[in-house]
């Protein structure tokens, strides 16, 4: 069930972040997702589980867990930065377009 729903959740959150739609919610949701990924991959690394890849990207891309961990950490930092620098990050967003429209 989770395996079926999660990719859709990831896709929509990603899409909304890129388009800048509902940014306050989508960025926080992305932050929670990345934290979750870091926890899951991190515990596998700490426990030295014999994983050659995490299967995070299906059959398309094969990356070792430590690379995924680093990628997720970078993405988490970037998302945190976007939340903190709200004024700059919302510049070209659809949110801003609709805000202007409402004024």
């Amino acid at each position: 069930m989770v395996a079926k729903i999660l990719p859709w959740v990831e896709l929509f959150i990603g899409l909304f972040v890129v388009l800048g739609l509902w940014l306050d919610i989508s960025l926080r949701a992305a932050l929670i997702l990345f934290m979750g990924f870091i926890l899951v991959v991190g515990q596998a690394l700490i426990r030295h589980l014999p994983l050659t890849e995490c299967g995070c990207f299906g059959g398309l891309i094969s990356l070792p867990p430590y690379v995924v961990f680093m990628m997720d950490s970078c993405a988490l930092c970037l998302t945190g930065l976007l939340i903190l620098k709200k004024d700059q990050s919302h510049g070209f967003s659809l949110d801003r377009y609709f805000e202007k429209d409402n004024k």
Partner: protein, 208 residues
């Protein structure tokens, strides 16, 4: 005109994304099915036949033309006994080996593989001496009513080269060195003489 709201655009984006994902999925499935169909087009006979032959062929090789004639006759004489599958093995010594294989693969994509291959073998002596055999292949393609525009596009398609090369690589991995090489129920048989012997042996075995 009423402006679209934020909620409406969100709904549209979600709906469009779902449609795009499922569309891609369907397109991927249909392209996989069509490549399976192309493979099926390059076969002859009953898939449930007891004798299964995979033939590595070079359309410019004279022995392959003779082998094709022999197998045609054998299949007519023993209906339902043989299932034949063709794979390309263009030899570097034949100047038109690769081009003829590409044409054959493109005719398979229009489900005219066998009429093309039969005519190519029949006229092998005429086109094999030409410096450029493409007009001869085009002529055959016209005679069997291929869509010439589709054929042209197909010949420019890199995936066609990939299929031919993949077949040849597979043959090399199986130790194929010359053509025609047959794998009769998995056993490698090179040349018509040995094929004939093997087929007769199998027929006898089946009788007993």
């Amino acid at each position: 005109m009423r402006k679209i709201s934020k909620k409406q655009i969100s709904f549209l984006i979600i709906a469009f994304t779902i449609a795009a994902v499922y569309g891609l999925k369907l397109w991927k499935q249909s392209s996989q099915t069509s490549s399976k169909n192309v493979m099926a087009v390059k076969t002859k006979g009953d898939p449930r036949a007891s004798i299964k032959i995979v033939e590595y062929v070079d359309l410019e090789c004279p022995s392959c033309a003779k082998g094709s004639k022999y197998l045609d006759q054998f299949m007519k004489d023993h209906p339902g006994k043989i299932y034949l599958q063709i794979k390309y093995f263009p030899l570097t010594m034949h100047q038109h080996g690769f081009t003829s294989a590409k044409y054959a693969e493109c005719t398979a994509r229009q489900e005219k593989f066998w009429p093309f291959v039969d005519l190519v073998f029949e006229r092998q002596k005429e086109w094999s001496i030409l410096h450029n055999a493409r007009p001869a292949f085009d002529q055959i393609a016209k005679e069997i009513n291929l869509n010439m525009g589709q054929l042209e596009r197909c010949l420019d398609d890199k995936s066609v080269d990939d299929v031919v090369m993949a077949n040849a690589r597979e043959g090399k991995a199986l130790d194929v060195k010359s053509t025609p090489s047959y794998f009769v129920n998995g056993k490698m048989v090179v040349g018509i003489k040995y094929l004939e012997a093997e087929l007769n042996r199998l027929l006898e075995e089946n009788k007993n």
